[in-house]
């Protein structure tokens, strides 16, 4: 995992479910096909109601129409981020759009697990509610070692991140397969 993550914030609210992250109608694309996989980037966050997309402004698209990559690389969420279905397409879509991490108050279990196991995005948790403190477009800097996130746009205001805990070795390895290979559970 990179030790410092820098990028623009994209802010969402509470209970962002997997149908908002990647609506069911796009699930016919096969993520194992390199060409089709890119479309998950194009449609990432396509199901978020317009008014709640890119807070506090609203009506900000995560990915511009007909593009594959987002201008935002750090997604900020509230409570229960990624609830709903078990579709791994959700963290995959966020990663495919070019974001490298999500910072939320807490996650729905399967989303968290998929993010870690597939090595898509790093799911950071904060004790603090950030949704009203950070604005979409703010420049952020995450220092993974220190467990801190600095808001460069807002005069360097610092937010604490919770330690990744038990899953850190899997995240460091880049997913459950790499982890299993490193630890000898699976042949290389």
């Amino acid at each position: 995992m990179t030790k410092v993550i820098k990028g623009k914030a994209f802010v969402l609210g509470d209970n962002i479910d997997t149908d908002q992250i990647i609506p069911a109608k796009y699930l016919a694309y096969n993520p194992s096909d390199a060409t089709e996989r890119k479309f998950f980037g194009m449609y990432a966050m396509d199901g978020v109601p317009a008014g709640q997309s890119g807070l506090p402004f609203g009506d900000v698209r995560f990915v511009r129409p007909n593009e594959f990559k987002s201008d935002f690389s750090i997604v900020i969420g509230g409570k229960n981020f990624g609830c709903g279905s078990s579709r791994e397409h959700a963290p995959l879509a966020i990663a495919e759009a070019g974001a490298s991490c999500v910072v939320a108050e807490f996650y729905a279990r399967i989303f968290f697990r998929n993010s870690v196991n597939g090595g898509y995005v790093v799911p950071f948790e904060t004790g603090e509610r950030l949704v009203e403190l950070i604005k979409t477009g703010d420049e952020l800097e995450i220092d993974v070692g220190k467990g801190e996130m600095k808001n460069v746009t807002q005069g360097g205001r610092v937010h604490k991140l919770k330690p990744l805990g038990d899953v850190a070795p899997i995240i460091d390895a880049g997913g459950v397969f790499e982890y299993a290979k490193e630890s000898g559970m699976m042949a290389r």
Binding site: S86, R113, N114
Partner: protein
């Protein structure tokens, strides 16, 4: 040391340990791995990439593949995805695959099966799994679908996972799990005729919120659960995920054992119970005699209210289907309300499985085999003006634009399904109320949300339906 819960005992056994405590990370052996047409292709892709193009699954008798999500659509990618499943089944020589043989790579919408007893296709995986004998008490099942937790109604540990997890298990037979703490929900009294398990679970989710059980096990206990049909218990455990639960579980009783004895492909299993001194993270008590028919208002399953309080809400559509509310007992409950009357709004009926569909044709209103001059459950529903669809997930998750029953405009719908997040059943501007099959049927008759107590005069018998 505190005692253990059912979930803890199952996990300990599969980790080859005497005991486990909540919060521990353990590696367990998996008994059943299920995937479907939406997550199967991705899972298979990862399996091939990580274990090699010629790798074999860890145990071909433990893999179950049930296409159910995007079946009756002209979308070519959906047809292609089913072909990916077929190729994998052939390559791995998998015995448990339920093919929609009427889906081909030809352009256009496939014609559904004509006779539900004459197709290999099953419909919604969570309904098909117990029907086809893949569910047993005391085992561990992973499925690439969040409602895999449904099987907890049979005293099993079952939970939803993503493609990477599933691919890992396909290759190794193992997975890592964090042992969840258990929340206990005790239901006192007997289920009254105007309530179903759907009302119970909507009340619970409304009380603890859509994240109230995150990372936790939900244990449904008490004589009230014993009074539910096995199918209704499946409605409870099915929606554990809507509270964020890792799994949902019920005690095993004679109803469970009758079903499993008749169906299971393997004739041994283990029945676990909570120790008297088991530790719970939360305990909630519910008195069935004072509970009311419930709804979840848009756009969240925890946005609870009583059906009575929202009786002024005008509806454009009603939907009866899915793994939550498309079982044969759900259909019988709806039919008892709709019999001899006409729906006022378009009402879509989608059987959860082809077996449910077949049962709708052979059972009467009381859940027994119909006589030659008697109407079937299906006859009653179509006579009442319902549109009948083929078994599958259908509009429960919106799906491609040509999906049966999909909400394509800013409509208001009442549905027996499990999720009402924005856009879940199709259009982002549609509003969905979740309710029991009784409430949905009563509302279909009036065109506005209706408390089913206005229509129910005596208990509804479901007879032999869904019993064995």
């Amino acid at each position: 040391m505190p005692g253990m819960t059912i979930t803890e005992k199952i996990l300990a056994k599969h980790a080859k340990r005497d005991s486990v405590v909540p919060g521990e990370n353990i590696w367990v052996d998996v008994d059943v791995l299920m995937t479907h047409d939406v997550c199967g292709p991705g899972t298979i892709g990862i399996f091939h990439k990580e274990f090699g193009r010629n790798a074999k699954v860890w145990d071909r008798n433990k893999v179950v593949i049930i296409p159910d999500h995007y079946i009756f659509t002209a979308d070519e990618k959906c047809h292609r995805n089913i072909q990916i499943l077929r190729d994998f089944v052939k390559e791995q020589d998998l015995p448990f695959y339920y093919d929609p043989e009427f889906v081909s790579m030809n352009p256009g919408k496939p014609n559904p099966y004509l006779d539900p007893t004459k197709t290999k296709y099953k419909g919604v995986c969570h309904k098909a799994l117990p029907e086809e004998g893949h569910i047993r008490p005391g085992e561990i099942m992973l499925g690439t679908d969040s409602h895999t937790c449904t099987a907890g109604a049979f005293g099993m540990f079952a939970t939803g996972v993503g493609n990477s997890d599933a691919a890992f298990t396909l290759g190794t037979g193992k997975t890592w799990l964090k042992v969840p703490p258990t929340m206990k929900f005790t239901f006192h009294g007997q289920i009254p005729p105007y309530l179903t398990a759907k009302d119970l679970i909507l009340a619970v989710i409304g009380d603890i919120s859509v994240s109230g059980a995150t990372y936790k096990s939900m244990y449904f206990a008490g004589e009230g659960i014993g009074s539910l049909t096995l199918e209704d218990r499946m409605t409870l455990t099915n929606m554990a995920i809507e509270a964020g639960g890792k799994n949902g579980v019920c005690d095993v009783d004679e109803k469970t054992l009758n079903y499993v004895r008749a169906r299971s492909r393997i004739k041994t299993w283990e029945v676990y119970t909570d120790d008297k001194n088991a530790a719970y993270d939360y305990e909630g008590d519910y008195d069935l005699s004072i509970m009311e028919p419930m709804v979840a208002k848009p756009h969240s399953p925890d946005n609870k209210d009583t059906a009575h309080n929202v009786r002024d809400v005008k509806l454009d559509q009603a939907y009866i289907g899915s793994c939550t509310g498309g079982k044969i007992t759900d259909m019988i409950m709806a039919a008892n309300i709709l019999k001899g009357q006409q729906v006022k709004i378009p009402t879509y009926v989608v059987p959860g499985s082809t077996e449910v569909h077949a049962d709708m044709k052979r059972f009467n209103l009381r859940g027994v085999l119909k006589g030659p001059n008697e109407k079937s459950v299906e006859d009653i529903l179509s006579d009442a003006g319902c549109s009948m669809g083929a078994s599958g997930c259908s509009a429960c998750l919106g799906g491609p634009a040509d999906t049966f029953g999909r909400l394509n405009r800013s409509e208001v719908c009442i549905s027996t399904t499990n999720r009402n997040f924005p856009g879940r059943m199709g259009s982002m501007s549609a509003a969905v109320f979740l309710a029991s099959p009784l409430t949905v049927a009563a509302s279909a008759l009036t065109g506005h949300i209706t408390d089913p107590r206005e229509f129910i005069t005596s208990p509804i018998e479901t007879g032999m339906a869904g019993v064995k």
